[in-house]
Symmetry: D2
Subunit: 337 residues, 4 copies
Amino acid sequence: MTRVESLISAVHKPEFDILRVAHVELVVTDLDASVAFYGDLLGMIVTERTADAAYLRGWEEYLHHSLTLREGPVAALDHAAFRVYEDADLDRLEADFRARGCTTRWVTDELAQGRGLRVQDPLGFPLEFFHAMDEVERHTQAFHLQRGAPVLRFDHVNFHVSQPERAFAFWQELGFRATEYISTDGADERITGAWLRRKPTVHDVALTAGTGPRLHHFAMWLAEPSSVLRVCDQLAAAGHVHAIERGPGRHGVSNAFFVYLRDPDGHRIELYTCDYYTGDPDHPPLRWSVTDPRCRSFWGTRAPDSWYDESSLVLDLDGKPLETEPATVDERTEVMA
Amino acid sequence: MTRVESLISAVHKPEFDILRVAHVELVVTDLDASVAFYGDLLGMIVTERTADAAYLRGWEEYLHHSLTLREGPVAALDHAAFRVYEDADLDRLEADFRARGCTTRWVTDELAQGRGLRVQDPLGFPLEFFHAMDEVERHTQAFHLQRGAPVLRFDHVNFHVSQPERAFAFWQELGFRATEYISTDGADERITGAWLRRKPTVHDVALTAGTGPRLHHFAMWLAEPSSVLRVCDQLAAAGHVHAIERGPGRHGVSNAFFVYLRDPDGHRIELYTCDYYTGDPDHPPLRWSVTDPRCRSFWGTRAPDSWYDESSLVLDLDGKPLETEPATVDERTEVMA
Amino acid sequence: MTRVESLISAVHKPEFDILRVAHVELVVTDLDASVAFYGDLLGMIVTERTADAAYLRGWEEYLHHSLTLREGPVAALDHAAFRVYEDADLDRLEADFRARGCTTRWVTDELAQGRGLRVQDPLGFPLEFFHAMDEVERHTQAFHLQRGAPVLRFDHVNFHVSQPERAFAFWQELGFRATEYISTDGADERITGAWLRRKPTVHDVALTAGTGPRLHHFAMWLAEPSSVLRVCDQLAAAGHVHAIERGPGRHGVSNAFFVYLRDPDGHRIELYTCDYYTGDPDHPPLRWSVTDPRCRSFWGTRAPDSWYDESSLVLDLDGKPLETEPATVDERTEVMA
Amino acid sequence: MTRVESLISAVHKPEFDILRVAHVELVVTDLDASVAFYGDLLGMIVTERTADAAYLRGWEEYLHHSLTLREGPVAALDHAAFRVYEDADLDRLEADFRARGCTTRWVTDELAQGRGLRVQDPLGFPLEFFHAMDEVERHTQAFHLQRGAPVLRFDHVNFHVSQPERAFAFWQELGFRATEYISTDGADERITGAWLRRKPTVHDVALTAGTGPRLHHFAMWLAEPSSVLRVCDQLAAAGHVHAIERGPGRHGVSNAFFVYLRDPDGHRIELYTCDYYTGDPDHPPLRWSVTDPRCRSFWGTRAPDSWYDESSLVLDLDGKPLETEPATVDERTEVMA
């Protein structure tokens, strides 16, 4: 059993039930520009807009929002939010995080949402857990109104972490199951990427070795590959060709069809579709060697440097950007191989 | 050599050069409703609108219009127009039609167009030939503005003809080449459908045995099959589910992917994509037996009765609806087989 | 609160944890013909073949089989199987079904599978519950070997039930959650179709009002709509055009893109893709009126009579075809509306 | 009028009628490997194979071959062949090329083909003109047998030319019409790329500024964008990920969806679909500035250096590789811009 296989073999069944990753709140420096990007160009519904924030959702979503854009001086991730099965799960999570020595805080004034538990996780990431959110109308089949991609629903977050194995162990302790990972070859195997899930898709959370804690990207689900192609055509036609950073293409990991975009503040969003079912408890995690040119891009296309080097700052619970530290494993190994 | 093969074997090289079918002018009873259908729902560009007419084109077209909608009391085809290589071809065509004993007329006051030769062809159809038309901007890659299908360009017309063999011979005399046909089996072979082309696609003109002269449908070209599916989703979502008459599906004849719609007046439009190249002079015409369930719908789906029975009246050169006569061959044979 | 809403409002949390529907075993009268259909034409992997049976799976599946074809004298459903979270769930299920007065039986000699609990459910359907099955290699990305659709994984079963409300209550008691339903309008609301899920897709089990107990169809998941179109092209080209019964098209219910096929024995299989996420506990069930032409086919296409009238016999636990009874609600209401 | 516009404005109507580019003959160093690549992986039909050559065609083609692979010591283009309307056109072409001082030669022993006129054109390229070729069966709708992309038909050739303006003038004199071009900005405008057509698509022949004479690539037509994606999946799965050089993506020029592959000898083939109709005589050529990041890749993706630097040697009429000379315009301008 390899080092990573040992990490995976321990199945955790915590007392709380995290359903899935549900939304992110981004600090953006020009709210109008960001709303135009996510609403008009990518095709999300703007559920509500206030003086300094906008709340958006995908076309099949019935909860109030899956993306919050809040205007502020420094572009960053304010927090990534996870929905739990029932309100009482929040208390169990608070106890768990306190036992870890993590800072926790209750938030009760979020628009359209019940109480939220904010924590700074052991890796430094600002997480939120919540159960209640206002319901709004689904528009899954409002094809005549849809535009852009269109974006259907929130799918996952991907974090840049300096200590991949430590982050990997932490998320498994929260009840997440590994579905795929990339690691170095040889006896001193190191994780350079890992995908973990609660909902039975390839992931709710991915971990990428890199300077962190930072948000590498969040991802929205589209209906099918042709949606990915169409949004690229539309972005380029609308004068936003520089927003297209990587792809479109097929991932090796996850098998999904994807494109990575950069929003007006440089936040990275992946448009993502067609991964696979992972919900059985014995679902076997899939390992990729960092030397396999197909793991990141199944068709072998090298990701640009920016995709490896750049990602979004994250805020602490007081709204201050967190210091970062370089990765303990050279993630670029995989591209140099 | 069969009866139809004999008809095909004679290659005609007339003095004039018809490039392709270029547009139709439809009389519609509610111009606003028709503009909403073709412009907003199907996604055509409205180049210009006058008091009683609208001129539309597809997104890759640089000529002023490929569809004219003119408000009038009775829904009908005013004329189907063909573009010729040079202006002098019009005079040669006039001579040809006069020699046939057909009524001809010059029209010089059409919006954005040079002189047009109007004729009532031997089968009764109101045809127009023209060379000059105002050029406008192409918007092939204005993906961010496109909506609906979107419609890219005019592709073909399909006529309901009572005497298919006579019509077939006539169009060949104009220099059109047969690419495919459906015929009855046995010694007294009859044509029930025929496809003829000038531009090197499967057709500019198709002939369907049926009560005629009537316009069975005209067709617009889309980029790919997913465009056909999307416009169906949008029509149904927008409350126009009854506009979808037949399909989507794959044609046996032409191999194209298609859907047939009915506009607010019942005019039939086909959205059509992915046929094949036919431009070599020895391109072998393909015969289908009427008993082959795949000739009309490659997947075997029976067309609804309305698709066989209903089509648009055509006007004579004075704007009066033409009398029709029933077909001399029972076209329904193919569905009864 | 309507009658059906009352049925839905009661949330059941049974002691056992059914993960999902996992496979069906069909009795087929010509094993070679059936293997050719599912293996060669639709593109499933034949994991193993014995003297009288074949075990197939989709390309992303790592369990030994998701479709068993067993040769026998009368085409029928032998059983539909559901996977549970752990082996002990089987004992809890046995107790539950015994308490209902249902016949139960343990099966221990199934190829590549652990012990199975067979029951004849209150509606008469032969169900199996199991946990353990041999693991085999996944071929999710063996694109160069894939053929046909290709079929990726088992998705759902659809049962013809004579008493829809009774069946609906039963499946909810097993912990299934309703996602969509079709019902008659007015005070004496009746269910004519219902969709229930364990895994967070639109369904594991659907109920269609009709002469039952019979298997209406089972469904396999494809990657995307273009896969559905391709398999139709291939079936027609290979001379199996009559296997295509209904579609391709978009469902109103489920939003999925689909086609229904009939196998050589008339068993109906749906190829299905692109539904949506339903995994949150407050996911609101969606009601469709039987009078909405878009509920069965979003584009309004009427399903053929065979789709309503015909379905597969089911066997009792001794392998004898079960008597059927007509539906207590006229399901055809929806097409006559 | 700019310098390039002046070049375009002269319309040439030569005495001969070249229908279209029809095939290439490539010298390959390992015939088995090349047949496996084009036949099994890309999905072309091998019409015939001899001791040292293989003749392939696309699935909708009824002429004997559109690609000849001939084993030899040095990978190169033996010749690119153009079909003419009638046999007599060949004599007219011979006269034309002799008048230009070009070497010409008649070839009468080509498999399945009538007499061919071979010329070394003013830029050094080995061209063939022919009219007659054996007809074979079309398999447009043999979807059940198709594999790989599949490849449907030959579309175009793209030549690396050191003197773009001279080549541009030459092809126009043969009756080709410019549809699009890329040029430098400013008074001393230079062509860095040009697209010219006989059949009414975007091109039969493209010219790319670069070290020449060399064959940059030839292109085959696919049915739709999803075909391009599928062949990439299959190539990567089959262990040929390094064959994928650039794309998939949307071209700015031509609007086509494409991918560039390298065959076992490094010959470049483009799989290409969805360009537009260009057949009207007043079709306006479209100019792109070399500084527009969208002209080569509409989504802005930079082509790899190999795509600019590498291309196939061409042979003289005696089968000897031709000397090349560097381009007179720095084609890389467009990527450095």
